[in-house]
């Protein structure tokens, strides 16, 4: 530990205050979620509820059953998006990095240029296309439009570029084809960037709202953020219930974060350099 000097004490105080401000919405939401609706709606506002804390709101929510369904849908969609994005982006990134083929320049240029295209602007034609493909209200309809990530292709390509070629030479002498080199040499060496892309993609897909919202109408298919917004569980005074729903929805990623803090932070820091 370094010596204590006044500047550091002030910095510590500022940091503590800022952190408290950042955490306050969570704390307030958790506090509200354990109150009865009457206490949550009491004015003037008090921190401690008159009628004591209760689990009831959470129990009710679980009995209604929608939230577990939405969590599973979110998991299916986010996992699907992550796997497909990784596979297609890594393959393309590898080809751009290591192989020279007809049209390489054009396709790479197209990929890089499209990094700047904000896909969300085209929700209207995309929805019309989904109508034509009969993909409205399907998992594929949610997943596929989310897997196109030119920026990930670019990030992976750049990482592959920096893997020394010498490592592959030996394998090549042994007669390994480009796909085997990709699988057995390049991919294992790229674990950190793969993890980073996976984490970044997963968080994005888990939390994505607009597209899944547009393409699903059947509540049994909705992801967590969409279901919370679209499907009603209460009526009238639902302050505690809204907060309990929010806390439940926030929990999975926060728990994951607490376990994989280092990897997630590193992942976002590396891929975020080109992220959305």
């Amino acid at each position: 530990m370094r010596s204590i000097n006044p500047g550091r004490v002030v910095a510590f105080a500022v940091l503590a205050l800022l952190s408290l401000l950042m955490l306050a919405p969570f704390l307030w939401a958790i506090n509200t979620s354990f109150k009865t609706e009457t206490d949550a709606g009491a004015s003037p506002v008090t921190i401690l509820p008159e009628g004591g804390y209760t689990w009831d709101t959470y129990v009710d929510l679980f009995q209604m059953g929608s939230i577990p369904t939405w969590m599973i849908n979110s998991l299916i969609v986010a996992t699907g998006v992550t796997i497909i994005t990784l596979v297609i982006s890594a393959l393309a990134g590898y080809a751009f990095s290591r192989l020279d083929f007809t049209g390489r320049k054009l396709l790479l240029g197209l990929t890089v240029a499209s990094i700047m295209v904000p896909g969300t602007i085209f929700i209207v034609p995309l929805f019309d296309e989904m109508l034509a493909f009969n993909m409205v209200d399907t998992y594929w309809g949610m997943i596929l439009p989310q897997v196109v990530a030119p920026v990930m292709v670019f990030i992976l390509k750049r990482f592959f570029d920096n893997i020394p070629r010498e490592l592959e030479d030996a394998a090549r002498v042994d007669g390994a084809g480009s796909f085997r080199i990709f699988l057995q040499i390049v991919l294992p060496l790229s674990r950190p960037i793969i993890a980073a892309v996976a984490i970044f993609t997963f968080v994005g897909a888990w939390n994505n709202f607009l597209w899944p919202y547009i393409v699903t109408n059947d509540p049994d298919l909705m992801t967590l953020p969409v279901g919370l917004e679209t499907v009603s569980t209460g009526f009238g005074v639902v302050f505690a219930e809204n907060m309990a729903k929010s806390v439940l929805a926030a929990l999975p990623l926060i728990v994951v974060f607490l376990f994989f803090q280092r990897q997630i932070i590193k992942g976002i820091a590396t891929t975020g350099l080109g992220g959305q």
Partner: protein, 309 residues
């Protein structure tokens, strides 16, 4: 899997820093195929198809085939006051969020990077909101902003300040959403800054210390100049992200009060899906796309120029 035809030429590159020469192999097309199939289907085709739609009167509800209407949608959009109102709102939101999201993120990263005890807590506090879905952020802040029962007005009341109906007041609603958004996404920029700060070799500071430069001198003459590139990048990303704002506005105010928070993407959504006019909505999308494109090019240009200087 098809085996690649090997030529020795490409395999001989050495240095990591120079761009490795690629191996001549048509199998590369197979590798990029899955990506480009999805790319064409879900990015390129909607982009092209949307152009066609923007020249029709495509109606979400009507079974009838859409008819070509020429430039009518574009003419209508350019004279539609709501297009300009929502565009103005979007720019306002972008300014209101980009500045704090850069300044506060930098400040937080600098503070955390001082190596004060409690690193784990600081990182979590700043970053955890970024892990929330927009829906959750909206529910949290609607509750905080509740004029009669919310935490914010209660706390203000303790200090004798009379609170407002933040989200229902046309003068404050956009700012209220910007505050919530800053809280939500600050952690992302914070991490980028933190990573950049940690990449600055400590030898640089040691040399400066030997030269007798104090902490503040070091901050202004070493740290900040070294952060210029990352700041440029964060700015570009932030502006692009803010221009596309939809979720939290849709959820918290639905564009109100008095259209003071309606963003351009929300107007596209409302026009297409609530008022059924898909063709007109597409035309608005393209005008917006053109604006973003021009902005991106300008930013790129600006970034290049400042790189050279």
């Amino acid at each position: 899997m098809t085996s690649a035809t090997l030529t020795n030429k490409g395999a001989t590159t050495k240095a990591v820093t120079t761009r490795p020469k690629a191996l001549r192999s048509q199998s590369g097309l197979l590798y990029v195929l899955p990506f480009f199939v999805t790319f064409v289907l879900f990015l390129l085709w909607p982009l092209i198809y949307g152009i066609w739609m923007s020249f029709t009167d495509r109606d979400l509800a009507a079974g009838a085939e859409p008819e070509l209407v020429g430039f009518a949608n574009y003419a209508e959009a350019l004279t539609d006051p709501m297009v300009w109102t929502t565009f103005g709102n979007t720019v306002l939101f972008t300014v209101m969020t980009t500045i704090p999201l850069v300044v506060l993120a930098l400040a937080a990263a600098l503070l955390v990077n001082m190596g004060l005890p409690g690193q784990w807590v600081w990182r979590m506090a700043f970053f955890v909101p970024y892990l929330l879905a927009s829906t959750v952020v909206s529910l949290f802040w609607e509750w905080l902003y509740n004029p009669e029962l919310g935490l914010i007005n209660s706390v203000l009341g303790v200090f004798g300040i009379e609170g407002r109906s933040w989200l229902q007041d046309p003068d404050f609603a956009m700012a209220a959403i910007a505050v919530a958004t800053t809280w939500w996404t600050l952690g992302f920029n914070f991490l980028l800054y933190l990573a950049a700060l940690q990449n600055i070799p400590s030898t640089v500071y040691e040399a400066a210390s030997i030269d007798g430069a104090g902490r503040w001198r070091q901050l202004f003459s070493i740290t900040l100049p070294l952060l210029r590139n990352i700041t440029m990048l964060i700015l570009v990303l932030q502006v692009l992200a803010s221009l596309k704002v939809f979720d939290q506005i849709f959820q918290m105010t639905a564009g109100g009060p008095d259209d003071s928070t309606r963003s351009i993407l929300m107007y596209v959504y409302d026009t297409g899906f609530t008022n059924y006019r898909l063709g007109y909505a597409s035309a608005i999308s393209y005008i917006f796309f053109a604006i973003i494109l021009i902005l991106s090019l300008l930013q790129l240009r600006f970034a290049r120029r400042s790189d050279q200087s």
